[in-house]
């Protein structure tokens, strides 16, 4: 990363932390309020969410001030999101998502094969033929562990096969 982009990072990691604290803190306070605070001797279901939410908002504010200062150029800050992480993130999440979609209608083997086919490209280390080896090996080991080792009822293939 160049020195320049580092100084002008729009979303620094400090900023992201501040945003997370403020957003989740505010949500916790707002929702918690509706659950009822109760009285001091009989704290309601909403008391803890409100207390924790307020603390988060306070921390978020404390975190935001220096982060904004850094944005204006008063200091340096490192960018939160790195380009190199975007591809693995999307592909890994996509692979898990595909598994979730396929496992119920199609069964374990197709779900795993599609998952591996997507996840494989998250890193450009492996060769194409290696991927088929990985599919066979991983699917085989998983079936051995879960279906035969632990005796869990897993459907391997779509109905009708």
């Amino acid at each position: 990363m160049s020195d320049d982009s580092r100084r002008r990072a729009v979303v620094s990691s400090d900023m992201l932390a501040a945003v997370l604290f403020l957003a989740i803190g505010a949500a916790s306070v707002l929702l918690g309020w509706s659950y009822g605070l109760g009285s001091t001797s009989q704290l309601g279901a909403g008391a803890m969410p409100v207390i924790v939410g307020c603390a988060l908002i306070a921390l978020g504010a404390a975190q935001l001030v220096p982060a904004l200062g850094a944005l204006r150029g008063a200091g340096t800050s490192s960018a939160a999101f790195q380009r190199g992480e975007l591809r693995p993130l999307m592909l890994i999440l996509g692979a898990v998502f595909a598994f979730a979609l396929l496992i119920a209608p199609l069964g374990l083997v197709p779900a795993l094969i599609v998952q591996i086919a997507i996840a494989w490209y998250a890193q450009d280390g492996g060769k194409r033929w290696e991927m088929f080896g990985a599919m066979a090996a991983v699917t085989g080991i998983i079936i051995l562990i879960f279906k035969y080792g632990l005796g869990l009822p897993l459907r391997l293939l779509p109905a009708g096969f």
Binding site: S13, L16, A17, L20, F21, I24, S28, G32, Y35, G36, T40, S41, L43, G44, A45, A47, M48, P49, V52, G53, A55, L56, L59, G60, A62, Q63, T76, A80, Q82, G84, E85, P88, L89, I92, L93, V96, F97, F99, A100, L101, I103, L112, Q115, I116, A119, W120, A122, Q123, G125, G126, E130, A134, V138, I141, I142, F146, L150, L152, P153, L154
Partner: protein, 499 residues
């Protein structure tokens, strides 16, 4: 000698063939992941949590514990042979261990590390057994206020020791607490943060959260930061330490065990800090400190003993108070809760076979580790040649199938995607997922005790400072944060400049 009869009961449980097999599996797997960089005990235990539903409580806890202390062992092998710490706790072993390997004395270093670890593990196990009954008796007298204050102090202590500063540390724990509140409120039955989703009524599933936060997010950052250096392994040489080695290392092992056992109990210190501290102690008291860094055997013996002792004594607060001091211990606590066992002072009496069985299995496991590690070192080193793209594909598949089998519904896997994203965001924001998990586990405990204490005192907050034990915990927590906050300003600046 009630202690001995209880330990006998434990041995009976641990020597049951099924449990023995799980213990062996645990330490073998632990050694393997300790050797493999990029796969640590946290991921592995998270991955196995869904499976532990199907096992009896004893077997699954023994298995998971074996992975944990086995990894502390396995990490030393790669530190010494390839200068690549498999685990953070073995990083300091690289300094002198790898120097010894370069001088052709890897075998001696490995042997001293293994024997030192075994000794430390034995002492650690004994300490759990000895400290158990008296500590449980003290903790038994804790009321709601004391427990709330203890959780408060423990969270602040861990937060203060986290890299990235105390604000982010506390924030991460608070975020975890919010997620821990999801589900029905224990005292009133109100559904909180469930958004009309039926699956959330019982709260967020701990195993799904742990897998998403640790496995998924970890894979992404590992792929992005992989440097594929060719690994060159040193020759192992003879395993026998020289007489001089033994003369130098046994006092170092003793000191390392002491340092590790002490730091292991403290929340937030953990194995990495104990091995580092033990190394500093050795260097500090050595007659010729210049030998350190050039292959001093004490520099291997002390930290390896320390991290193993710490890995055992870390169980003390977890088992006896129900307060985990590290993320791995939080996962262990989660595993107990999956089986309906609430660790705490009553555990020793209510779940005596489980408690003593675990203690005894840890000693047996340590024995297994010596047997596994020394003759099979060549085999472990070969594991380093497994390319990461095979490893992560397998981890991912294992994670999805494991989580799916818990509920046989795709909901859990969508939740996995959600927590994967959350884990990535936390990591990117420099927030520790480990503290998030601790907050998640300790939050509900804090809430329950806090609310109970408040109703005992009829709404008077002073209850937390009027009761002496509670006051001590509160002050301790605040003192640690104050200490960390002052050095945080300095540390924060350093981090920005050298990041």
């Amino acid at each position: 000698m009630e202690f001995l009869s209880l330990l006998g009961l434990g041995l009976q449980v641990a020597l049951n063939p099924v449990n023995l097999l799980y213990c062996l599996m645990g330490v073998t797997l632990g050694t393997a992941i300790g050797v493999l960089p990029g796969v640590g005990p946290i991921i592995t235990i998270a991955l196995l949590l869904p499976l532990s539903f199907g096992l009896p409580a004893e077997a699954s806890i023994i298995l998971l514990a074996g992975i944990y202390y086995g990894a502390a062992y396995g990490g030393s092998t790669t530190s010494i042979l390839v200068n690549l710490p498999g685990e953070a706790s073995s990083a300091v072993t690289c300094i002198d261990g790898h120097q010894m390997a370069k001088q052709g004395r890897a075998g001696a270093a490995l042997a001293v590390a293994a024997l030192g670890s075994f000794f430390a593990g034995t002492v650690g196990t004994l300490l759990i057994a000895l400290a158990g009954p008296p500590l449980a008796a003290i903790a038994m007298r804790f009321g709601a206020a004391e427990y709330a204050a203890l959780v408060f102090a423990a969270l602040l202590m861990v937060a203060a020791m986290t890299r990235g500063g105390v604000v982010k540390g506390i924030g991460a724990a608070l975020l975890g607490i919010v997620f821990g509140l999801v589900g029905s409120d224990v005292l009133t039955g109100t559904y909180r943060f469930t958004f009309e989703v039926r699956e959330l009524r019982d709260g967020i599933d701990f195993a799904v959260l742990a897998v998403g936060l640790f496995a998924i997010a970890e894979i992404v950052s590992n792929i992005a930061s992989q440097d594929r250096n060719a690994v060159s392994t040193s020759k192992i040489g003879t395993l026998w330490p020289t007489r001089d080695d033994i003369r130098r290392s046994w006092p170092a092992v003793l000191r390392g065990t002491g340092v590790g056992a002490l730091l292991g109990v403290l929340p937030g210190a953990g194995m990495a800090m104990s091995s580092f501290s033990a190394y500093m102690v050795e260097k500090g008291i050595a007659k010729e400190p210049q030998r350190f860094g050039e292959g001093a055997i004490e520099g291997v013996a002390a930290p390896e003993a320390a991290n193993n002792a710490a890995s055992q004594t870390g169980f003390i607060p977890t088992l006896l108070l129900g307060i985990p001091g590290s993320p791995v211990m939080a996962l262990m606590l989660g595993a107990f809760m999956i089986h309906g066992v609430q660790p705490g002072p009553r555990m020793m009496t209510e779940h005596a076979p489980l408690f003593w069985g675990l203690v005894a299995s840890m000693w047996i496991g340590n024995l297994f580790l010596v047997i596994l590690n020394l003759p099979l070192i060549g085999l472990w080193v070969r594991l380093l040649k497994v390319p990461y793209h095979w490893l992560y594909v397998f981890v991912l598949a294992f994670a999805c199938v494991g989580v799916f089998t818990m509920g046989s519904s795709a909901f859990q896997i969508y939740a996995l995607v959600f927590f994967g994203v959350l884990g990535y965001l936390l990591k990117t924001a420099g927030l520790s997922p480990a503290l998030f998990i601790l907050g998640f586990i300790l939050g509900p405990m804090f809430e329950e005790n806090f609310r109970r204490a408040m109703s005992i005192s009829r709404g008077n907050v002073m209850i937390f400072v009027e009761r002496p034990i509670s006051l001590v915990f509160v002050l301790l927590g605040l003192a640690v944060v104050a200490l960390a906050a002052t050095s945080f300003v300095r540390r924060g600046r350093e981090e920005v400049t050298d990041d």
